[in-house]
Symmetry: C2
Subunit: 413 residues, 2 copies
């Protein structure tokens, strides 16, 4: 046995231990130490978020809860429902909170996400992407076998036939929605007669049950300016509403007509027939959404609060006009606009380096940083940022209240 | 107990099982099925890479081995060593291959990477980033306690004093290199008298051992054109070489003078005193490096082969001039240039959508794709792509030979 094996065993034992050396009275906790302090769903000791090892992904509970409440209030007022997209948070705990507050289920983009959500107790799942390979169809049908609330999308007659064959072979009925293209030509079938024919096929094929339609207008979510966004998305959705009418006139089931997102959540109810919005980012918000402007606030999209942040530490302060942190592209992505330093002004952040972030000071920064200082970043684009982390710290009044597993992290298959 | 709990248990049992339904004779394997087929380090049955569920990260073994051999041949000819950066692959198996073929150890960017590598048997580790917080210093010193080959970087006198205090408290000696700024002002101390003073301090402080210098010129690695790259990096490293001289003249230890990367691997030996290159991307290559041009091939940097690819599946082929795949930003990142479709021409790929990739056909594409077709992508920028996956499939002649854990995936702390 090589020399390092004994040492390695000793190391493995030691890394979970409490702090054995501290240069000051500051407490500080690694992620494994935090896991050890979080027993039976309760933090066993007070830990400030500022004591966390960095980079660390944090979600502010007051802000998150307020966002979920705001969404539910708006949905109730507008007479539609929310079916939040779990591709954003990939976190069963948040999915449960959304459903408990009135959401009618969740969406997932990938079958692996749907499996992970079901394994963690979420059983109302609309998978918004078509499954086209034998592997994916098998996974989806295996999930449907045990999850009555699993609904799949399809966007072509040949795919519908494969799904029918697969469901029949398993002796189950699979619930399907027809995915309509809003004009971006990314996924979905063309609205109108082609979509009607597909809906009729799904309705007729053995072992399939038509549940309705899906039309996600991703291209309109980040249009800057509320009125411009409203005009674009309502215009794009006309063809989908017309298809909804065609299905209704043909006596087909339209109990689901799902679409919309965080950028259009208070617009989508004006689309005739729409039953629910697939809102994702509203739980967290991010720099991309802040910039689009809202109905009441034309400068900043302030309908929801920025609950998701990354904590980072300054590593180098030796050079004029800048500082270097430990949160680069692998902690923040390289989405634009860059992350925003929370609560400060006169400085900008970039994460163009894989391992390092850069703070650049303008002429009149609200503060400067020293080595070891921690700062908090409003994330650039929440979905791919969350996908970089295995867990997020749930924070209330700057204290860690819980540690949530991002159970579907990395599940792109 | 809620209704879905029984179902969930049944589901958990069923998802690991072999295929229960296939629409054709095509075999197809999910990642968990592949893990089950890979026992005792040997694939128990032949699986083609084209049978893998997608997105899947693959490394071609012939190409990987050739890259490691090319690097070693060049290092031997030039009289320096390689100390490959594990931030690129985050994979202990590849680190072991590099060391077995002549590399003198590995580098890591983060202490969590160093811990993961040591836990998997790699015991010659140069951590190239300074540890500045009590948490990180404690982690680094705990690792040093059991890993004789762990060397840390420092770039300020105050940090060196903290490291000395920490090492003394643990009763160990910590090996240090002084990190020099090559001019990018990201990390490191200014070369010259400031660096000499820091080296002298490290040499004098209790519980620290000076091992030498580190100067990573990241800003020169992707300069387009071999001669331009050579001129820039050799010019930038002059101050580091002068600092090396100052240390030597002062009788200080310079056994390590580490720097350079994949873009300058065959240039760095001309920097006086340099002992080893921190090459990372050469094992995989990517679209970013292909574009910089090499010494012999001015158009394409062809010194190394493109071993790392992403397999993806076409989800939608209904719209003219394009097709949609299942590998978007969460599978490919949004680094530029975009991923390249391997072996094809007359088409481009983009991964600007979080969940979907887009193929766009030019006027004369080498082929077009149908729904369900798989294709292979040369990655855009290997480091952050690898960081999205838990495992990579090691492929030889299109067959899966092994499954390698990306043990330091997500380790940005």
């Amino acid at each position: 046995m090589p020399k390092h094996s004994m040492s390695r065993r000793r190391f493995l034992q030691s890394t979970g231990a409490a702090a054995i050396w501290l240069p000051s009275s500051v407490k500080a906790y690694t992620s494994s130490e935090m896991q050890a302090l979080y027993a039976d769903g309760v933090m066993q000791q007070d830990v400030s978020k500022w004591e966390l090892d960095t980079p660390a992904l944090c979600v502010d509970l007051d802000a998150l809860e307020a966002n979920i409440a705001t969404m539910q209030t708006t949905m109730s007022r507008n007479g539609i429902a929310s079916r939040p997209h779990a591709k954003t948070h990939k976190c069963p705990t948040i999915a449960r909170m959304q459903i408990d507050q009135g959401s009618i289920g969740i969406c997932t983009a990938k079958v692996s996400e749907a499996e992970a959500m079901f394994q963690h107790g979420i059983d109302q799942i609309l998978m918004t992407t078509s499954n086209v390979t034998s592997t994916k169809i098998r996974r989806a049908m295996t999930l449907r076998q045990v999850c009555d609330g699993f609904v799949q999308a399809t966007d072509s007659p040949s795919n519908a036939r494969l799904l029918s064959e697969a469901a029949a072979a398993l002796g189950i009925d699979a619930d399907l929605v027809v995915d309509l293209d809003p004009g971006g030509h990314r996924t979905g079938i063309t609205p109108g007669q082609a979509a009607l024919a597909l809906a009729q096929l799904v309705d007729q094929l053995p072992a399939l049950k038509l549940k309705g339609l899906l039309c996600y207008d991703g291209g309109s979510q980040h249009v800057v300016g509320f009125q411009q966004r409203k005009d674009q998305t309502l215009g794009r959705l006309i063809a989908a509403s017309d298809t909804y009418d065609l299905l209704q006139q043909s006596g087909l089931n339209t109990e689901i007509f799902s679409g919309g997102g965080t950028g259009t959540y208070n617009i989508d109810h004006e689309t005739r027939g729409l039953t629910d919005v697939q809102v994702g980012s509203y739980v967290f918000m991010d720099a991309q959404y802040l910039g689009i402007g809202g109905e009441s606030n034309t400068e900043v999209y302030s309908d929801f609060q920025t609950s998701l942040t990354i904590l980072t530490t300054v590593l180098n302060d030796q050079y004029a006009g800048r500082a270097t942190t430990d949160a680069g592209a692998k902690a923040c992505t390289i989405n634009r606009p860059w992350a925003i330093i929370k609560g400060e002004s006169g400085m900008s952040y970039s994460s163009g380096s894989d391992e390092f972030g850069t703070i650049r000071y303008d002429a009149d920064p609200s503060r400067t940083y020293k080595v070891g200082d921690k700062l908090e970043l409003i994330v650039s684009h929440c979905d791919p940022v969350v996908n970089l982390y295995d867990q997020m710290y749930a924070i209330r009044h700057d204290k860690v209240e819980a540690i949530w597993q991002i159970a579907a992290r990395g599940m792109s298959a």
